[in-house]
């Protein structure tokens, strides 16, 4: 802003003086110390005093904190390099140069990445296909200013199956999702699990969470199917460390209006809890809790039904039958695109090499 004002008032020298002042400011050791201290204070506050999400929002992803980091990098550039400009370069020095250069490179990588990255979370039930170009497929999206989703994410994903206790070379890898990702030319199919992701055209797919998704079916008195939908259940951890699988929010059980589709008339509020059998998690009991719709609060309505049913067993609710016909898994999958990553990791390793070079050269020199 200041520069612009000066350009208007003319004077080439004035402009140079501003550059000089800027240079002096950026290259001062005092700035280094101030920055170090400010960053330390921010980190300590962000970790010791504030809860993680708050700290992430107000400190670590805030503009001012990132401006501090940019200043730190400029400081390395303007302070370290001029200082060593005319020195004889030996191995000790070469190592330091490599190290500080890599630090700058690292930040270029981080800034570049922040402009073009993409991060999305989708949730799909076994057998389901989603179009990744469509923003409605996502539970959550974050992206850099210059990332174009429609152009870069022309692909679809299928969740074929979720397996528990996935074995790789005899080792138990826990839960794995078998997925396919594809576009017009190519399709890739693989299992993703804790230490394995699938990569397709620069996008990486990571297994995130999972849970049960029973197919709940509504029938009329004659047994004709009126409606059916997979309802993803939350996995809520209870005090005894067991999980409760239930319709609701991530924190607590809740009700959904049923049928859920907006074009159909909503008949009642429904809550379903699922109790998998210990032997086979896909066969179990469901506990229905059905209430009359009188207001926005399900608790206001009269209880229409409360009780459990085995797989495919129909229970009678007023003029209808409810049943759980099938249990599938849902899985949420994180999709990541970080074009700056190669630069970031390369500069980390280069920097690491730089410090080792300096240290080894020092040891040799001493001998």
């Amino acid at each position: 802003m200041q520069l612009k004002g000066n350009r208007n008032s003319g004077g080439r020298w004035r402009k140079l003086r501003i550059f000089n002042q800027l240079y002096n400011f950026l290259s001062s050791v005092r700035l280094t110390i101030v920055l170090f201290v400010l960053i330390l204070i921010s980190c300590v506050t962000g970790t010791a005093l504030l809860p993680v999400p708050v700290a992430r929002l107000f400190i670590f992803s805030s503009i001012w904190f990132n401006v501090l980091l940019v200043f730190l990098i400029s400081n390395v550039a303007f302070c370290f390099f001029p200082k060593i400009w005319r020195r004889k370069i030996d191995l000790i020095f070469a190592g330091m140069i490599i190290f500080h250069l890599s630090f700058i490179l690292l930040f270029i990588g981080i800034v570049y990445d922040s402009m073009f990255y993409f991060r999305g979370t989708i949730r799909l039930t076994e057998g389901e296909t989603l179009n990744l170009a469509d923003s409605r497929s996502y539970d959550h999206i974050e992206q850099g200013r210059f990332f174009e989703r429609e152009r870069n994410l022309k692909m679809w994903i299928v969740l074929h199956k979720l397996v528990t206790g996935h074995k790789v070379n005899g080792k138990n890898m826990g839960v794995a999702n078998e997925i396919s990702v594809g576009g017009r030319e190519e399709v890739k199919r693989d299992f993703i699990y804790v230490i394995n992701h699938l990569e397709y055209k620069g996008f990486k797919f990571y297994r995130a969470r999972d849970g049960f998704s029973p197919l709940i079916v509504l029938r009329d008195r004659n047994g004709n199917v009126l409606y059916g939908a997979y309802s993803p259940l939350q996995s809520i951890r209870e005090e005894n460390k067991k999980y409760l699988y239930v319709i609701g929010t991530a924190e607590a059980p809740g009700y959904i209006p049923f049928p859920q589709d907006s074009i159909l008339q909503q008949l009642f509020y429904l809550q379903a809890k699922y109790y998998p059998s210990p032997k086979n998690s896909r066969i179990g009991e469901v506990f229905f809790d059905v209430r009359e719709i009188v207001s926005d609060d399900p608790e206001d309505g009269k209880e229409l039904f409360s009780g459990s049913a085995a797989l495919r067993e129909r229970v009678s609710v007023g003029d209808y039958f409810l049943s759980m016909e099938e249990v599938r898994y849902w899985a949420s999958i994180d999709i990541r695109h970080n074009p700056g990553l190669p630069l970031i990791f390369t500069s980390l390793w280069i920097g690491f090499g730089g410090i080792i070079l300096t240290t080894v050269a020092r040891l040799i020199k001493r001998k």
Binding site: V29, T32, F36, I39, L40, C43, V44, G46, T47, A48, V52, A55, R56, F60, T164, K171, N172, M173, G174, V175, Y193, V194, I195, H197, K204, Y206, R209, D210, S235, R237, Y243, D334, R336, N338, L341, I344, F345, L348, W349, G351, F352, I355, I356, T359, R362
Partner: protein
């Protein structure tokens, strides 16, 4: 008590006795007590190694997945480094007066937090990056702990000139040693941060999360980076850096084990939910 526990508490006891020998050695200026401290620390290490080995065999995974395991293994490596330093020079015995009490307090605390081996291999621990991460973290800790020890000895040497203090290395060598161990620690923390980032990227697709443990490790690394700059760029030497290294190791210990203890989970990455 199972055999793992017997060895573990034996180690704690030997470390404790060793710490007392070193401290009283300093106070009473008796070199024999240093030798006793050294032998006791060696016995403690033997117990420590055996206890970790038992746990490793029983659980089938590198015992590094909660705070108490991480402290136990971290102390093991630190004492091993300390003993290597002891083997290389007789004149550095007094470092034990800082290293052993810290080791004793930490491992004793670990004992109170100990849980049964879970017997389950957390799949996320099966990444090779984790090895680098752990080696970096624990040797880094060992190095800066020894650096802090040399810092203490430097300060003592400066103040007292007679008796056992006469035999200590001259201040310049101590100062230099302090710098070298800090530099070594700095490198190992660098390895820890990089491999941690790679590991996290492999498991979550995120290389940096600003989780408390990560931020504090970065703080630590910057603090040791500042040490190097103060020495190399600003020309600091001696007493100020000796104090610096002793304070810095406290920050280091807090960030490794204090923070995960307070925030109730040792790195979110270690916790696998289903």
């Amino acid at each position: 008590m199972n055999s793992e526990m017997v060895f573990f508490w034996t180690a704690v006891a030997f470390y404790g006795l060793s710490a007392f020998s070193y401290i009283f050695g300093l106070i009473s200026m008796k070199e024999k007590l240093f030798s006793a401290g050294l032998i006791l620390s060696f016995l403690g290490l033997a117990g420590n190694v055996t206890a970790v080995a038992f746990r490793w065999i029983k659980g089938g995974v590198l015992p590094f997945s909660d705070i108490s395991e991480s402290i136990t293994s971290g102390v093991l490596i630190a004492i091993a480094i300390f003993l290597i330093v002891q083997a290389s020079s007789k004149r550095l015995r007094a470092i034990g007066a800082l290293v052993m009490p810290v080791a004793f307090v930490l491992i004793g605390w670990a004992g109170t937090l100990m849980k049964e081996v879970s017997g389950q291999i957390a799949p996320s621990l099966q990444s090779y990056w984790l090895w680098f991460h752990i080696v970096g973290a624990s040797t880094g800790f060992g190095a800066v702990l020894v650096a802090a020890g040399t810092g203490l000895v430097f300060l003592l040497k400066e103040r007292y000139k007679t008796g056992i203090y006469e035999k200590l290395p001259d201040p310049d060598s101590l100062d230099n040693l302090n710098y070298r161990f800090v530099a070594g620690g700095f490198i190992m923390f660098g390895l820890m941060l990089i491999s941690g980032a790679l590991w996290s990227n492999q498991v979550h697709g995120k290389y940096w999360n600003w989780d408390p443990v990560e931020s504090w490790s970065l703080v630590c690394w910057l603090i040791y980076g500042m040490f190097l700059h103060l020495r190399i760029t600003m020309g600091w030497r001696g007493r100020s850096l000796a104090w610096y290294s002793m304070v810095a190791v406290l920050v280091m210990i807090t960030s490794y084990w204090g923070i995960p203890f307070v925030v109730q989970n040792f790195h979110t990455g270690f916790r696998i939910e289903h």
